[in-house]
């Protein structure tokens, strides 16, 4: 009986606390339309502790006195589908983190407004894929397979090499339905194998240890030593150089060439603070803010005036390969289905 009384007491106290504490109410409140706060939708690693969100928010508040609130929608695939979900209105001002392969789908939605930004003049010209400037590029990188040089496994030199029996259950890739690197890999295989890409995926199947829902998970598995090879970016060695002072993990050059990923930001037409939001995107492209990106996003800044840190000396630029996904609606599921259940 005593125990039960204690429980009732605990529950009552917890309940009262929950109902009365104003701080808790605030933590979950919707954005206040009158207050000066911009809401930004993005993906997980952008807001993570090592991501750029914290430093950007601080710098922007110092310069403009406006608070930023970052909301992570999970991975890149979830970000786009959250935007396009007709059942849920996007209650954000700004979106950061759509990539070049999602661009067309995102622009078709008509959710974004054209921007006029003064820092756009300094942005590398070949990145400007949207002539209407509704979605503007803020960073870019190249896909590459990362290899653990202490694994004792011989490094592959091409996509074809990955299908060799020697790499059985040694490769981690991401799900093309949910993750933008996963989608990038699909584009890579479609560019190299053209119509025979499905055949390639079938041959690749035995080599794949895991197809993870997001880049975070896949790369985490890789650095925990679960597999010696993982799909990632050519810039990743810089991370290991800067934080662990090691060159153990290497980005492998493939004879097929390497597709590029360009990441975009935009302002939503439904935003009540469009002017302010545009100011922020301009700030995101400024040389000052862009200098924060290499060592937080581990990507190249789009602004040509932004300086690269010393850690990027270990990053090499590989021959580029132009790669697109043929049917953005069908191909990702078809590719994933080849791997699932085998």
């Amino acid at each position: 009986m005593m125990r039960v009384r204690q429980f009732i007491a605990i529950l009552l106290v917890a309940g009262l606390f929950a109902l009365n504490n104003p701080v808790w109410a605030q933590a979950n409140a919707l954005p206040n339309p009158a207050g000066a706060e911009l809401v930004i939708w993005t993906y997980d690693s952008f807001v993570s502790e090592w991501g750029p969100a914290g430093q950007i928010a601080e710098a922007f508040q110092k310069a403009y006195g406006i608070k930023l609130r970052f909301v992570s929608k999970g991975d890149g695939g979830a970000l786009l589908s959250a935007l396009l979900d007709v059942a849920k209105r996007p209650n954000a001002d700004i979106v950061i983190g759509l990539d070049n392969r999602q661009l067309e789908k995102a622009l078709q939605s008509g959710l974004f407004v054209p921007l006029s930004l003064k820092n756009l003049a300094d942005v590398q010209k070949n990145l400007l894929l949207d002539p209407t400037n509704r979605l503007v590029p803020y960073d870019f990188g190249q896909f590459a397979f990362m290899w653990d040089s202490q694994s004792g496994v011989e490094p592959p030199r091409s996509l074809e090499d990955l299908t060799k029996p020697l790499y059985r259950k040694k490769v981690i890739i991401m799900d093309p339905r949910t993750s933008t690197p996963g989608l990038g890999f699909l584009a890579w295989t479609e560019a190299v194998y053209k119509d025979a890409w499905k055949d390639y995926w079938r041959r690749l199947s035995p080599s794949i240890l895991a197809m993870t829902p997001s880049w975070d998970t896949g790369y985490g598995l890789f650095t925990k030593g679960e597999a010696p090879l993982a799909l990632s970016y050519s810039t990743d060695p810089a991370y290991h150089k800067a934080y662990e002072n090691t060159e153990r993990y290497k980005a492998l050059p493939f004879s097929d060439g390497h597709p590029m990923q360009i990441e975009f930001a935009g302002v939503l037409a439904s935003s009540p603070h469009r002017e302010l939001a545009q100011k922020f995107v301009d700030f995101l492209l400024s040389a000052e803010c862009q200098a924060l990106l290499p060592e937080t996003q581990w990507m190249f800044p789009s602004n040509t005036k932004a300086k690269l840190p010393a850690s990027f000396s270990v990053v090499s630029k590989y021959p580029a390969l132009s790669a697109e996904v043929g049917d953005i609606h069908q191909d990702p599921s078809e590719a994933a289905n080849i791997l699932i259940g085998h």
């Binding site: 009986m1 125990r3 039960v4 429980f7 009732i8 605990i10 529950l11 917890a14 309940g15 606390f17 929950a18 504490n21 808790w24 933590a27 979950n28 997980d44 690693s45 807001v47 969100a53 914290g54 970052f70 909301v71 992570s72 929608k73 999970g74 979830a78 589908s81 959250a82 396009l84 007709v86 059942a87 849920k88 209105r89 209650n91 259950k169 799900d175 339905r177 949910t178 794949i208 240890l209 895991a210 197809m211 829902p213 997001s214 975070d216 998970t217 790369y219 985490g220 598995l221 650095t223 925990k224 030593g225 679960e226 597999a227 662990e244 090691t246 289905n337 791997l339 699932i340 259940g341």
Partner: protein, 544 residues
Amino acid sequence: MSLFLYIALCFIIVFSLSPLAAFLNVALGHVRTSGAAFSSFLAQVPVSTILRSLKFTVLQSLVSTALAVAIGLPGAWLAAKFRFVGRKALLALAAVPFCFPPILVILAFILYYGREGLLSSIISLFFGPRRQYHGFLYSFWGLTMVHAFYNFPIAVHQISALWIRIPETQKEAAKTLGAGSLRAFRIGTLPWLLPGIAQASGLIFLYCFFSFTTVLVFGGRSGATIEVEIYHALHYQSNYALALILSIVETLCALGGILILTRARGRTQRTMRDFGRTSELRSPKGIQRLFIVIYGVFIVFFFVGPLLSIAIEAFRVPSPVGRATKFGLENFERLVKGFQAPLLGAILSTVRLSGLAAAFATIAGIIASLALFFAERKNSHSILPKLIEVFQWLPMAISSAIFAYGWLFLSSDRVVSSALVAAQAVVAWPFVSRALYASLRAIDPQVREAAKTLGASPLRAFMTIELRAILPSIAAAAAFAFSITAGDVNVPLMLGMGEVETLPLLLYRLTAAYRFNEACAAGLVLGLMTGLVFLLKEKVIDVA
């Protein structure tokens, strides 16, 4: 008063079913607005996806259940027959699947069984480093093993509760008549034991059938359960038609499972009542003692070990390669002081949202159980109590994704937190109601008759007898409801990350990002919150 109860119950049921109607409306609404016929609705539904995930779901549930029962049966036998140190602890493990959310247990398994996990380290101490590592956890067998270890305590608990009541007399009689011990067991014990095994299997099957987080994290390549496919359809494709058809298939299968479960439950309850007394526990001798030790080591090594590793890893501070590990509070600190201070916010919103959901669930559960109790007392053969009982099971047979989205469609400005509270309350109230109903039925009707004979009015009799008797159960059930809702990751994940940041969601993200030590710190906090149920009497777990 009973009229009032029925009205309230109708309200609860309508309330519970309204999100389904809302979801149906939206899913079919897409057809209407695009002006297309029903055939185009079906065109959005790839039959191969449904068949493949159905096959995978059924297969993995069957294998998981078989493994769980196989691990649990020896434990059930030991707990029913012998007196030994740790017997109570073994039975209390049954609370684990209910009060430690899957995401926490997944984390424990990766930490323990993963390539650089504790188990691997121990093995490599003896046998040197493992060269061939094929990521067992991420295969079909890895997934079923996780399910099996997560759910086997249910089998131990439920089967031993029955076994302890089956008297030895029949078996002894068979032996006297010349049967060997195996045959005597088959004649004298098995017929009474089987319903108990069926009941535990049914429950475990249902949990595995609806498994979501585990499959999402480990499933990747081996396949996707229907629940995971629904998540994909809703979250990544916005394909409501596919989600609708998938959830209908899922519910039909689950209803089949529930039918078997309730049948078996009816039979075990009869067995329990008929035999009544529990038999005496014996002290183990010789080989039996050895067997207990082996089983104990097995469970500690494979099941308790992973759980303990969470507590250890929470305090271990990851250090750069080559330096000695140290222990401290850095993981907690980083979560509290880091950018947007995720931990405190998550704790606060979990307590607030789950507290509200649990409160609603408790109130609804009290009303439903009283209505069922009174309806049955008045006329046990009428259709009404049966109908109420069906409704008690319904939320267990329907995808929580559909509830979550349904509530979202209902709330005018798409407020996620209110949809979250409503959806979690709907998922939790049947547990409360079943628990309370069981303790109401346990009250001896003669006590009430005595009170009436002594001149108490029906209301007064109710207040002094029934209400007082179930008051402890209400507190226990409320705590249980809180535990279920606080540990739930399905509903917040379905509703979209970032809208509400609850503790299980934070845990999911940290785990997904392989930030294990911080995940453990958050997990320890969550475990302490949901583990409250551990302190309860075993009662609530029996009816869960």
